[in-house]
Structure formats: structure tokens, C-alpha cells
């Protein structure tokens, strides 16, 4: 699946904002994930690299570094649980476990219907409302306990049934 001309144009339009082309990589990867199913497939890596004048392995290295980029497919709702220290102390592990039970997949996997995936991420910067969950790039779901998980999943299922999109900045059905 090659990058669309529109996507390439969108990336190219970022060039003047940065001192050098390789600096556009982070933005470009966000764009790619928005428009290509939420992940950076190996097929598009060489194209991104060529556009930015870097090597494919440079792109892969950056994708692997940040939890926000995915080198494997994610679900339509990628449910990310912060598992850094504050969230862990306040029960983030339990949240992950409950998600795994509820969705019948392990952290890092995608459900068979492609609707959900679970991820553990580094600090989301909201220690005051730990544990924190972020669905896709949407607003945080805060003070989550394991017992909140079934309701969260149901809200997301309802959105999907209602034809809810994988919109990047919508409301995830937080409290």
C-alpha cells in the first residue's frame, strides 16, 4: 500500500517548518498512522525514508523508540494504559489485566474483529489522575480502576456500532 499523493503532499508541506528534512519524521509518522490504519506498515517505511532523505532503518528505529508509533497493526480503538510508577502504584496493572480478560487478548495484541488492541505506554504526564488510559489520541480517561473497564469497553463498542470513526481527537466516552 503506497503512500497517497495527498499524504505525501501533507508531509512535504511540513518541510519549511523545520531546519532539516529528517526533523519532519515525527510529524510524518503521525500523519501516516492517521491515514494508514493506525500503524506504520513495513511497506511504507522506504517511502517515508525516501521522502525525508534518510534510511529506512532510521525510520524503523524511531518507530520502535516511541510507544505512540506502531510497527504492527492496532485495533480501531487502541487502548493504552500508562504503566509508569504513579499509575502502577494506583492499580494500572489491574487495569491491563482486566482489559486482557474482557477483550480476550493479551497486551500488544489485536482482537479478532480488529476493534480493540491493548498497549502499555510510558508516562502520559497525568500522575495526579492516575491510573490513566488513552484511547487512540483522544482525551485521557482518568482515575480508571479495573472495575471501570467493562463500562469503558461497552462505550467503545457502542460507538463502533453507531458507526463511530477512529477520529483522532474525539471523546472516548470519558467520565
Amino acid at each position: 500500500m503506497p503512500l497517497s499523493e495527498e499524504l505525501k503532499a501533507r508531509i512535504t508541506a511540513e518541510f519549511p517548518k523545520y531546519p532539516e528534512r529528517r526533523a519532519v519524521l515525527l510529524t510524518a509518522l503521525h500523519f501516516v498512522q492517521e491515514e494508514c490504519g493506525g500503524w506504520v506498515s513495513p511497506d511504507v517505511v522506504p517511502e517515508i525514508a525516501e521522502l525525508l532523505g534518510i534510511l529506512p532503518i532510521d525510520v524503523e528505529e524511531v518507530v520502535s523508540f516511541y510507544p505512540m508509533y506502531h510497527s504492527d497493526p492496532v485495533g480501531r480503538f487502541h487502548v493504552q494504559v500508562c504503566t509508569n510508577i504513579s499509575c502502577c502504584i494506583r492499580g494500572a496493572r489491574g487495569v491491563v489485566r482486566r482489559l486482557e480478560e474482557n477483550l480476550d487478548v493479551l497486551s500488544g495484541e489485536v482482537t479478532g474483529d480488529g476493534l480493540f488492541s491493548i498497549g502499555e505506554v510510558e508516562c502520559l504526564g497525568s500522575c495526579g489522575t492516575a491510573p490513566v488510559v488513552m484511547v487512540n489520541n483522544e482525551r485521557f480517561v482518568e482515575n480508571v480502576s479495573a472495575d471501570d473497564v467493562p463500562a469503558l469497553v461497552e462505550r467503545l463498542r457502542a460507538r463502533a456500532a453507531a458507526g463511530g470513526t477512529n477520529g483522532s481527537n474525539g471523546q472516548a466516552g470519558g467520565r
Binding site: P42, L55, P56, I57, E60, E61, S64, F65, Y66, E122
Partner: protein, 561 residues
């Protein structure tokens, strides 16, 4: 890397109370190392860019607010440095503890054991007990990260020397650090393994046992290796290497530093090109056509193979080296007597030392007096780094010593044509592999078919071995002492790492004995050191070069003055 050309302002620094003069811009760690002050370090490598990631080389600098990494601190005038201060010692302990947190400590089965910086620095700078009870991180082990390199992720300390090597030296960029935090790991792009002509150098730069040469993997404990400083024989670059041998077999070659030749690198092809010294293609027994082959004489050991069970001496049936030399001399003499000097030709593949080559050249000019004397130089692929097109070690030396056609002499193609036409009756080939590679078997076959005698001096079996009238097995570079001249005119020592197969002598000694057989009078036995003095006189640009001054890194032609 410090740029040493041009004038640099001298600065005075004090390291551990010792005043040292350095050049402005030099890094503190390198200045310390150059002056014999040991500062432990992992990520710093003199031939790679500075990474500053391992934190092992921290030192205390007076008036600085905190410890500084010496690898990335330029020296400044008046700088006062303490490499042994209490906080430095504590910092090193902390770094060692961090590096060992996830290290598997599988030293008993690790190839790096014995030459491992983790071991050495644990011994010198670590703490004696572990404080962690958490399980260690697991990672891939014995993973073929490339065709010639094995990767053990658990042992990696993420110094990134290998990443920098593939970016800056091999310029192939196969390796990067993937992931973040304690999930960081060295990896390749999915379908691009670590495969470049210099890939095994990552095993040398790796300070721990994370990247290993597949060829040497689990082969021998390094402390059993006898190491000999010599020069790689695979092309004319003459990369400086160490042979690691065990029980008279080569177990590995590793590069050693010579900034004039190979920095600290060597190519994979050269590194792995040693099997011929000890494999089944090696010629160990002389042969004379029509004579019974000699029974192989086993190496003397606890059992005396030279005597049978009744204690009687066992006589080998085949010819000795001296008998083969005598047969060769008779053949050469007969051809000259019957057909004249022009009926004899000599072809040399220049794998010999300068000293041996000098003896051969004299023999050809003064005893045989034939002008038909040619070099056979096999050519191959080259690059703009270390790999040179001439696939023999001493072509330059042979040319410097005047090997080539004399007045009215034929070149290689001319000699082969004259052999085929019957004009040349006796061909003496020193190193047939080069001849076949340089001229092609199609040209060599008809040439040797029409000879009265093919005299072959060779280390390994080739397409010509069975055609030889007389075969004199020679010694490989690993068994010889002498000098060779690389493509750029640097005269370097090779040193014997192995004993030659029983009964064989160096090619130089073969020439000495052949000269005395031809002359009918005894000549001095071949002695590399004295022969080098003759070499230094024979080549104008070598004048003044001395054997003892060649040292371990050699001298450039013209440096003799």
C-alpha cells in the same frame, strides 16, 4: 578522531599529579591513554565518533561542578584532573552495577571471556556483590545477525560501537538501537542482515561478548591461543593482524592497529582466509614423477611413528625435499645444457617474502641466466577502503626487487605461448594458484602439456599439481619469518605462528639449496634476517631499512634514512 595535521596550540594539563602537554582540542581520555594513564571506558573507540553513552570514563576535574566524561571533554590549559578520586571510584562502581544489572554472567560459555572489558573492569572497578534480586532481562542468544556474526542480546551493554562502525566505517548502516529504556536493543532492519565485507569488525569493537565472529564461535578459549603479530596475506594492502593459534593450528585472525595501513580494521575475506594453511588441500609430501609417493609420516608424538612396533626405523618410500630439489636442479641443468638458457622459464606468484624473492631473483639471473621470468598476479574486486585488486601479499615487493623479464625475456603470456609451442622446455612455477588465476586454465593447460618438465613449488593442491614433474611443497606465510611490501611501499614483518609440516622448509631455504645444487657447491642456509640486509641494499628506496626497526608496524620505503 583528532586531526593531527596543522599547528595546534599546546596546552598543559595535570592528570593525577602528572603534568602532561597535549594539543588543544584533544579529548582528555585519549590524552590520558596516550600517556599511560588508564581510564576505563566502553563506548569510546579511537577510530569511531564519540558517543558518550557508557559513562564509564568519568573523572573529576578541578573547579568543575560534577564529574565529566573524559572521552568528550577537550583538554584545556591548566586543567587539573583526578582519575582516582573517591567519587570517581564510586561512579565507576555505579556504572558497572548498572551495566551488569541485566548481564547474564554466562562467562563460562562466552567467547569473549578472557578478553572482555566487562570482566576486566568488574575486576578492577566493580563491586564484589550484586544487590539486586530481580530477575534479569531475557534476550535473544546465539542469533545470526548476519552470515558471519553471532549476536547475544543479553550481553549487550548498548555502547553503540557496532552501530557507529556500520555507519561510519563500513558505511552500510545495518545496525541501530531499537526500542527505548531497558527494552533497548541492537537490531537490524527486518530483511537486511549484517552483511558487508567488513562485518566481523563489529565483533572486535564490541567490548563484551554480544557480537561474536561466527567462525570463532565456541571454538577455543582465548587464553589458550598463542598470538603472533603478522600481516594478512590475502591482498596487497597488508593489513596488520594477529594469528591466534592452538596446537599448531590457526584458530582465528584478528586485526591489530596500524594507522598507516588498516587503522584497526580488516576485511572478512582476509580474516577467514586461513583454512588453506591446514586443510586437506595442503601439500605435505614432495613428489617426483615416476617415483613412489612417500608414505605420509605422522607428526611425532607420544608414540614414535618413525619406528615400527619392533623398534626398527621406518623408511619413507617417497622422495625427500632434498631429493626433489636435486631432481629439479638436474632437470634445469639438462635443459640449459641441451637447449640453451632460453629454454627455461620461471613464473612467480608473489606470495613469498622479500628475502625469499631476492634469492629467487638471484638464482634466475645468476644461475639459470634465463630472461624469461614473469610475475603472475591474480586480480580481483577491490574497494576504496582496504581491499586491493592484487590478491597476493607481496607483488609490490617482487616488483621492487626487479622480478620480471630480463633482456629479450618474455612476459607471462609470452612464456605460456612459448611453452605451448615447444620453445620453452622446462617451466618452473613458484605458486601455481596465482598462475592459473592470472592467466586462466585455458592458457595454462596447453602450455604445460608440451613441456619436458614442469617444476612446481606450491603450498596447496591446484589444477597443476598432478602435472608436476617435480613437486616441492612450500611453507605458507603463517610458517615463515620475513618481510613483505604492501601496495603503498610499506615494508612489514611477517612472523612464524606455526611449525611447517614435517620435513618441509621455507621457500627461501629451497632456493638456497637449489642454488647450491646448481652451482655444485655449498651455499649458506637461508636466514631471513641476513637476507633482509641484502634486500635493503638491492632496492634503492629500501636503503637504510633495518630488520630490527621494522618492529610490529613496519616502515615505509624511503624511511630508511
Amino acid at each position: 578522531m583528532t586531526e593531527r595535521s596543522g599547528f595546534k596550540k599546546p596546552v598543559k594539563v595535570v592528570i593525577d599529579g602528572r603534568e602532561i602537554v597535549a594539543e588543544a582540542g584533544e579529548m582528555l581520555l585519549q590524552v590520558a591513554l596516550d600517556n599511560g594513564v588508564e581510564i576505563p571506558h566502553y563506548c569510546y573507540h579511537p577510530k569511531l565518533s564519540i558517543d558518550g553513552s557508557c559513562r564509564m570514563c568519568q573523572v573529576k576535574i578541578e573547579k568543575a561542578p560534577k564529574l565529566a566524561i573524559s572521552c568528550n571533554t577537550p583538554v584545556a590549559d591548566g586543567m587539573v584532573v583526578d582519575t582516582k578520586a573517591g567519587e570517581v571510584v564510586e561512579a565507576r562502581k555505579a556504572v558497572m552495577e548498572l551495566l551488569l544489572l541485566n548481564h547474564p554472567l554466562d562467562c563460562p560459555i562466552c567467547d569473549q571471556a578472557g578478553e572482555c572489558y566487562l570482566q576486566d573492569y568488574s575486576f578492577g572497578h566493580g563491586r564484589s556483590e550484586a544487590r539486586t534480586t530481580s530477575p534479569r532481562r531475557k534476550g535473544v542468544k546465539r542469533y545470526p545477525i548476519g552470515p558471519r556474526v553471532v549476536f547475544d542480546q543479553e550481553r549487550c551493554i548498548l555502547c553503540r560501537r557496532c552501530v557507529r562502525f556500520t555507519h561510519e566505517i563500513s558505511k552500510t548502516d545495518e545496525l541501530r538501537v531499537f526500542g527505548a529504556g531497558d527494552r533497548s536493543r541492537i537490531a537490524t532492519s527486518q530483511d537486511r542482515p549484517l552483511d558487508n565485507p567488513y562485518s566481523i569488525n563489529v565483533a572486535d569493537v564490541c567490548p563484551v561478548g554480544a557480537l561474536l565472529s561466527a567462525d570463532f564461535h565456541h571454538k577455543r578459549r582465548v587464553w589458550f591461543l598463542e598470538e603472533t603479530e603478522t600481516v594478512c596475506p590475502t591482498c596487497s594492502n597488508g593489513c596488520n593482524v594477529k594469528i591466534g593459534a592452538f596446537r599448531n593450528r590457526i584458530e582465528r585472525l584478528v586485526p591489530r592497529r596500524n594507522d598507516e595501513v588498516n587503522d584497526t580494521w580488516m576485511c572478512d575475506h582476509g580474516r577467514l582466509n586461513y583454512a588453506f594453511v591446514q586443510d586437506d588441500t595442503r601439500l605435505r609430501e614432495p613428489a617426483i614423477a615416476g617415483r613412489e609417493p612417500r608414505e605420509p609420516v605422522p607428526v611425532a608424538g607420544p608414540i614414535d611413528y618413525t619406528r615400527d612396533s619392533d623398534g626398527r626405523e621406518v623408511r619413507a618410500a617417497g622422495p625427500s625435499v632434498d631429493e626433489a630439489i636435486a631432481a629439479a636442479a638436474a632437470s634445469l641443468r639438462a635443459a640449459v645444457a641441451t637447449y640453451g638458457e632460453n629454454s627455461v622459464a620461471v613464473v612467480l606468484t608473489p606470495t613469498l617474502t622479500n628475502e625469499e624473492t631476492l634469492l629467487l631473483a638471484r638464482l634466475v639471473r645468476e644461475e639459470l641466466k634465463t630472461p624469461h621470468f614473469a610475475l603472475a598476479v591474480p586480480l580481483g574486486l577491490s574497494d576504496d577502503f582496504l581491499i586491493k585488486p592484487e590478491k597476493v601479499a607481496n607483488a609490490r615487493g617482487a616488483r621492487d626487487l626487479g622480478v620480471g623479464p630480463g633482456d629479450g625475456g618474455k612476459d607471462l603470456a609470452g612464456i605460456l605461448a612459448a611453452c605451448a609451442s615447444g620453445e620453452i622446455k622446462v617451466l618452473w612455477v613458484v605458486g601455481s594458484d596465482g598462475l592459473v588465476a592470472a592467466a586462466g586454465l585455458d592458457a595454462v593447460e596447453p602450455a604445460v602439456a608440451n613441456l619436458e618438465a614442469l617444476l612446481l613449488q606450491d603450498t596447496n593442491r591446484s589444477a597443476l599439481t598432478d602435472r608436476a614433474t617435480v613437486l616441492v611443497p612450500g611453507c605458507t606465510w603463517a610458517e615463515k619469518d620475513g618481510s613483505m611490501t604492501n601496495h603503498a611501499g610499506r615494508v612489514q614483518r611477517i612472523r612464524p605462528a606455526l611449525r611447517p609440516p614435517a620435513g618441509l622448509v621455507a621457500d627461501g631455504e629451497v632456493f638456497a639449496r637449489l642454488a647450491s645444487a646448481l652451482r655444485g657447491e655449498a651455499t649458506a642456509p637461508f636466514e631471513p634476517r641476513t637476507a633482509f640486509a641484502e634486500v635493503a641494499k638491492a632496492v634503492p628506496s629500501y636503503v637504510g631499512l633495518e630488520w630490527a626497526r621494522l618492529g610490529s608496524r613496519g616502515l615505509a620505503a624511503g624511511q630508511g634514512a
